[in-house]
Structures are given as structure tokens and as C-alpha cells.
């Protein structure tokens, strides 16, 4: 994983160097205000896969050709984030390199949700077992929230000359460190709440480091050297640290973000 991150960082570095070389040969419309500051917010969602937890009782309903053991369970992960970033633009204003500080919160939810009046909204988790007795608990939902602080390294490229409406492409990597983690268990019988810590402890614990690489496309609204608004779609986003997630596996996803940037100083 570390090798992958290194390769991606080197790729980003090469792009930056190539952008700078291009600066030396291109004619820029306005060689001013090459540094921008900005704030961005957005959210990612992932293609969440279940893990093979042996302590979850399967509840699949069998019919021919269909053998999903946990068909009653739904898994979902999303990650809202906010960031403060500084951006450096090449002289021709085609390459935009940015970095900053990002706070993100990754939320994973697994649960059983019934659309039918006769079906159950819970799944069974086995907490303890000895030779004669086995204890199950009915769980509606388990939610995990991990909070991260991270550093994004991004490069954007717009093939078009500066104008009010600009299409651009993006490649980015962000490296995140886990600040805190919270896991909540919602029992079918609320009186079982006192078992929450034991049930939560059955599942894998999330790792302390989370990294992802994003590719995306976006549009920028605004003139050169003026405040700009960006709308951006991230797809695909590849998770480089699958061990970062405790409840489920997330390998790739996508997201949207919006950012507001303004020029800091003129050259």
C-alpha cells in the first residue's frame, strides 16, 4: 500500500514539474494571482461489501440459484468532509495544484430494513456460546463513525484557456489519520442496550490510517484572478487502505464536492 501511495505521489510530482515546464514556454494571459485559498465541502460514498462475520446468523431466503447468506443485511458507507486548501496555479492557468487540511467523517451503517409488514427489521448476532447455551441478540442497526484529519494533494488540469466557465479534470490523493472512532448498536429490544459494548467489540476495529486516490471532473465558474466556484464529481475513488474500515469492506466509490476559492495575492 505504501508503495502505491509513493507511486501516486511521484506521479503527482511529475505532473507538477511538467506543468511548471509548460509555464516556461507558454504565454499566460495574466501572470497574476497565482495562489488561491479555498474552502470545500462534499461527500463520498463507497461500494460497501459485507464481511464474512461468523457470529452473524445467516437469514437468506433460499430459492434456486440464489445463495446469499446475508441477503437481509444492507451495508452503506458515506464520508462527508470539509477542507481548507491553498492552490497554486501554473502561469498558463491550466494546471492547478492544491493541498491543505481536511476533516472527514466516515460513517458505515449495517442493518436490516424491512419493507414488508411481516418481515423482521433485525438480524441475529451471537455474543457468547458454551457447550450448552448460545446467546443471540437482535440488532436493528450498527453504526460506526470514524473521524479523520488529512492532507489532500490534488492536481487539476483544464485544457481550455481562462474563461468564465471551465471544464477540468482532476487526480488526487489524500492521506488521513484517524482521530476518533465511535460505534453504536441499536438493539431490537432497547433493554439490551447494556450489551452494546460487547456486541460492538465483536466486529473488526478500524485501522488508524486511511488513504484514497480520486479521479474526477468538474466545472469552474468565475473569471481568472477572481473568486471562483467549483462543482466537482469524484469517480472513481479507490481506497488504498481497506483495513481502515471496521464494519465492512470499501474498495471504490465516488462523490461530489463543491468549493469556493479566491485569489490570495498578485505576482
Amino acid at each position: 500500500m505504501q508503495k502505491t501511495i509513493l507511486i501516486l505521489l511521484l506521479s503527482l510530482g511529475c505532473l507538477m514539474v511538467s506543468a511548471q515546464n509548460e509555464n516556461n514556454t507558454s504565454v499566460s494571459p495574466k501572470k497574476k494571482h497565482q495562489i488561491y485559498l479555498g474552502i470545500e465541502g462534499g461527500s463520498r460514498s463507497f461500494d460497501t461489501k459485507s464481511r464474512d462475520y461468523e457470529f452473524i446468523r445467516a437469514q437468506a431466503v433460499y430459492y434456486f440459484g440464489y445463495h446469499n447468506e446475508h441477503s437481509q443485511l444492507s451495508w452503506f458507507t458515506y464520508a462527508p468532509f470539509i477542507a481548507l486548501k491553498a492552490e497554486y496555479r501554473s502561469y498558463n492557468d491550466k494546471f492547478w495544484m492544491s493541498t491543505g487540511l481536511r476533516y472527514s467523517s466516515i460513517k458505515t451503517i449495517m442493518g436490516s430494513y424491512s419493507d414488508y409488514a411481516n418481515n423482521t427489521d433485525y438480524f441475529f448476532v451471537m455474543l457468547s456460546q458454551n457447550q450448552e447455551e448460545t446467546h443471540y441478540y437482535r440488532i436493528n442497526e450498527i453504526r460506526e463513525t470514524s473521524q479523520y484529519v488529512g492532507v489532500p494533494v490534488e492536481i487539476r488540469y483544464s485544457p481550455f484557456l481562462p474563461r468564465f466557465f471551465r471544464l477540468y479534470f482532476k487526480m488526487a490523493i489524500d492521506l488521513n489519520y484517524k482521530l476518533a472512532n465511535k460505534r453504536e448498536v441499536e438493539f431490537f429490544d432497547p433493554a439490551m442496550k447494556f450489551h452494546e459494548k460487547e456486541i460492538a467489540g465483536l466486529f473488526d476495529q478500524p485501522g488508524s490510517f486511511y488513504a484514497a486516490v480520486d479521479f474526477g471532473v468538474g466545472i469552474q465558474l468565475g473569471r481568472q484572478n477572481k473568486p471562483n466556484l467549483r462543482l466537482e464529481g469524484d469517480f472513481p475513488s479507490f481506497v488504498l487502505t481497506p483495513e481502515a474500515f471496521g464494519l465492512a469492506d470499501n474498495t471504490f466509490g465516488g462523490g461530489v464536492r463543491i468549493s469556493f476559492i479566491f485569489p490570495l495575492k498578485a505576482k
Binding site: 460497501t48 431466503v61 436490516s112 430494513y113 456460546q129 450448552e132 448460545t134 443471540y136
Partner: protein, 196 residues
């Protein structure tokens, strides 16, 4: 773009899952005999065995096991179908002498118990269309590998019987074999009958 579409579908699918409770049957296929349920100890309410070149397996439409206590006898009625086809029903009733079982919790005593089906005191019957006939057993065994009491939310719910069975028998002059049988049943007041 296709992956994005799949992702959107996945997200939209949250809340659209099918589910069931403890009393339903859960089929987890065996890794070798894929037509049979894998051996389990979860009370998945399944059983299955290779029956010549077909299978004798539980059916979703009938209670897979009924336990009957009557006249100092204990009977286990495996209710299923031959060949995975609904409608081709077969019940296999295994009766053993017993004086200790009065309630379903007493079945816990069967833990790690082997019953020789060819023993003189054991009766095996096949019931088809409510017609019962006693089967001549050449050899066979019903093995309760594990019995356990299940608590759900700290309340006793049922007893789980898990184990294996196999038998060779003669039916209308022709020998048959039932092998690799396995079962995993939940027993509670719904399928335990004390008729004394």
C-alpha cells in the same frame, strides 16, 4: 459510467432487502454436495441427504422436523421432498424408546448421542401421502452431534439439534442408501408435541 450506475443502484437498494426470522429455513450450500445444506449448528431448520442419485431434503412448505413424545417413545419426523421438487413429499419418522423426554428442553440430553437405526428397538417409517410403512433398515445411524439451548435477548427461545444421519434400507425388495445426511433444527413448542 457503468460502475457509477451500479453504485447508484447499490445506494438506492438500501432498505430493499429480504429477511426472515428464527423459524425460517436458511440454506447454506455444502461445499462438496452443493445440493445439500452445509452442516451447521445455528438452528437453520434444514436437513438433507443423498438418496441414491437424488436428494432427500427439507422443503420450505412443510415443517422440517416434528418431535413427538407418546407412549414412552420419542419420534423425530424429518419432513421434506425427494429430488428437490416440491410436491414429491416424503416424511421419515424415526422412533426410539424414551421415558425421559417430557418437554423440548429435555432434548438437550441427546448431546453427543448416537442412535443405531438398525437396533431392534428403533423403528424407521416412511410416510408418503399419509400412508406409513415401516422400513427394513440394514444399517444406519442418527448422530446428535450437538444440542444447545438458544437465548434471544436473554430469553430462552428454543433448543437446537445438529448432527448427521445415514442409513441403508430395503424398500419393496430393493435396497437404497441415504448418505451424508445432516440436520440443523430449532425445536420449541411449535414443533414439539407431547401426546401423553
Amino acid at each position: 459510467m457503468k460502475k457509477l450506475f451500479i453504485l447508484v443502484i447499490i445506494i438506492a437498494a438500501v432498505g430493499c432487502s429480504k429477511r426472515s426470522g428464527l423459524s425460517d429455513s436458511v440454506f447454506i450450500p455444502d461445499s462438496v454436495y452443493t445440493d445439500l445444506p452445509a452442516y451447521s449448528e445455528w438452528g437453520y431448520n434444514t436437513f438433507g441427504a443423498n438418496y441414491d442419485r437424488s436428494v432427500f431434503i427439507y422443503s420450505r412448505n412443510v415443517m422440517p422436523l416434528k418431535v413427538i413424545v407418546q407412549n414412552q417413545e420419542l419420534s423425530f419426523v424429518f419432513q421434506g421432498v425427494i429430488g428437490n421438487y416440491s410436491g414429491n413429499y416424503l416424511s421419515m419418522k424415526i422412533t426410539i424408546p424414551d421415558t425421559a423426554t417430557a418437554k423440548y428442553q429435555d432434548l438437550l440430553d441427546l448431546n453427543d448421542t448416537r442412535i443405531n437405526l438398525s437396533g431392534s428397538e428403533v423403528v424407521v417409517e416412511f410416510i408418503i401421502d399419509q400412508n406409513s410403512k415401516v422400513i427394513e433398515i440394514l444399517e444406519g445411524e442418527l448422530y446428535f452431534k450437538r444440542t444447545q439451548k438458544i437465548f434471544v435477548d436473554d430469553v430462552e427461545a428454543e433448543v437446537i439439534l445438529s448432527g448427521y444421519f445415514n442409513l441403508k434400507f430395503i424398500e419393496e425388495g430393493i435396497p437404497f442408501t441415504m448418505t451424508d445426511g445432516r440436520f440443523d433444527f430449532g425445536v420449541d413448542n411449535d414443533n414439539f408435541y407431547n401426546l401423553n
